[in-house]
Symmetry: C2
């Protein structure tokens, strides 16, 4: 029982009290119900893996996006986390492929470039199909550091490297914009 409580406590948002409550609940269900839950956990963990190409969550060796011949296979959008893919997909404007780094460079949290999934990005570029890499890491300190690192790494390979636009969000009044964003917004102005 205490082993189960300990395991449950590792779940996000589950404290010692909730863990105990959940454990008692599982004690009360039928043996079949408990087994069904345990099996579902094991089955999920067994079927989910990372796409060999882009590191997105996948149920087979390739994720549905990499496997889709209708996507534009000449463009790769580089993201920090798998859930960022959804953010870009929702715009219905990007039809290329992705590459998930599973993190960003952070000296503070001791995350180095070699801790990110950069190796298979280089392998994809060596395959020669890619014309543009869009660096879509967040404009946070860590995301910017990661983007700068990748530019230096990728430019010598002769591929076009671009950075998503940093600036004033749609719908915002200039009045409420911080200095750093206003500065980037002027710096990144586009000729019309």
């Amino acid at each position: 029982m205490s082993r189960l409580v300990d395991e449950l406590k590792r779940l996000p948002g589950v404290g010692p009290k909730s863990a105990q409550r959940l454990a008692f609940h599982l004690l009360g269900v039928t043996r079949e119900e408990a087994e069904r839950l345990a099996e579902a956990i094991i089955a999920m963990r067994g079927s989910i893996q990372l796409c060999e190409l882009c590191n997105n969550i996948a149920e087979g060796p390739h994720c549905p996006i990499c496997a889709d011949p209708k996507r534009d296979h000449t463009t790769i959008c580089v993201l920090e986390q798998p859930n960022n893919i959804m953010i870009v997909e929702r715009t219905r404007q990007y039809h290329g492929l992705y590459h998930v780094l599973h993190g960003s460079i952070s000296p503070l949290r001791n995350i180095r470039p070699e801790d990110l999934k950069i190796k298979n990005l280089l392998e994809r570029l060596q395959a020669g199909e890619t014309r543009e890499v869009i660096l879509a890491t967040s404009p946070t300190t860590e995301g910017q550091t990661t983007a700068s690192y990748l530019v230096r790494l990728l430019k010598p390979l002769g591929v076009k490297v671009s950075r998503i636009g940093v600036g004033i969000p749609v719908g915002s009044e200039l009045e409420f914009i911080d200095e750093a964003t206003m500065s980037e917004s002027i710096e990144g102005r586009r000729e019309l």
Copy 2:
């Protein structure tokens, strides 16, 4: 007394009750104090005017920015309101001139292009010193409409016209970005 209450009620954030409270307060002060306040209002209103060139608030015919020979007189940053100048100045990155429209085009609020201070912008451009006009209206519907209107008006004059960057604000995680901003951010990506 009721005329004073009516006048005070026109001030922003002053309701009927505050107006009455202020009026009673002014009734209690000495005649000299009341006159000093009245004179200060008149003096302020008399000394403040709009810069003939850029429509910024000025105490003479030209505002301090237009009158400064050290500013870059070949670039004009177009803004909606005088207080937006401060936002851009705080970046310490822009050293050109400004042009304040005093509003933005809004069919809903019945504000038409002819209601904005566009005429003296055209006069400034005709003087021939300007090389670039940066449209820095907010990325709101009204600000975008105004920017689109100005591009069509200014491009034929042969001047370089640019738009400030719309995108993800500095420090934001991709996760919290709305679709419209993400879309502009991809659209407005910059080659590195």
